[in-house]
Amino acid sequence: MLRKNWWKILCVILLVYTIIAGFLGAVPAKPILNETIRNLYFHVGMWFAMMVLFTVSGIYSVLYLRTGKPVHDLYALEYAKGGILFGCLGLVTGSIWARYTWGAFWSNDPKQLGAAIALLIYFAYLVLRNSMTDMDKRARIGAVYNIFAYAMLFPTIFIIPRMVDSLHPGGMGNPAMDTKDIDPRMEIVFWPGAVPGWALLGVWITTLWIRMQLLAEKNLSHA
């Protein structure tokens, strides 16, 4: 039990730590941002979780193309869905944060547009899969498209927003998360707490979906 599930316990502990230290810990006082700077632990955590889930999804798509095992395709699909969930949460929370710091929920900022495009590409992955009835074809074309979607993440959310003016930290050549710029008092909550905590929660939820899907398939084959 503990041998198999220790990471779930770790996930809960890290997130409890993030919530407590995230609200009560000291943060630098900055104009405009004020206390909203604490959103770093929650909003940015969503994007890190999304990247982890999409990366795992992409790896399983490559594995599917190499081995042809249907279970790898299932893993790729469910991890992509998990990534989409966290990506949507990241977009919505970023939008709320933007309302009170940039002045509007949506200001067509390159970072916002890029993130929206990246997510739309992943939505198309789900639509594309469901447009095919042949299981092998669906899995193979789905895997190829999923790898393409993963490759598109980099220009849409990392490269293009850095090449143009943006309200988001990370405009004009700076990374969105400057490791030297983040306050050390926030660093100790963000890196050991929020980043692994939210990513583990994403993996946990995704594995539940996978197990449910495998059970459903098993029932179908017995019926």
Binding site: L10, F23, P28, N34, I205, L215
Partner: protein, 77 residues
């Protein structure tokens, strides 16, 4: 056993890091408006308590779901 010790020492370390972080508080330059009053009145703790309650509720739900699926997996073997 060894793994367990490692796990708990990691936890203690994380807790200590949090304390150290709170100890070195400094504000440079002109004062910026923060939620000082909220913290002075102690009301921020209420928000933390509410958020923790919601979080624990959601996690309890996820754990229940996890256990249910585990039971189904055992039953279908």
């Amino acid at each position: 056993m060894h793994k367990k010790v490692q796990f708990w020492s990691l936890l203690v370390l994380l807790g200590l890091m949090g304390l150290v972080g709170r100890a070195q508080d400094s504000t440079a330059g002109r004062p910026v408006e923060m939620a000082d009053r909220l913290r002075a009145d102690g009301k921020i703790y209420v928000v933390v308590a509410v958020l923790l309650t919601i979080f624990i509720g959601i996690i309890a739900y996820v754990i229940r779901l996890d256990r249910k699926i585990s039971r189904l997996e055992k039953g279908s073997k």
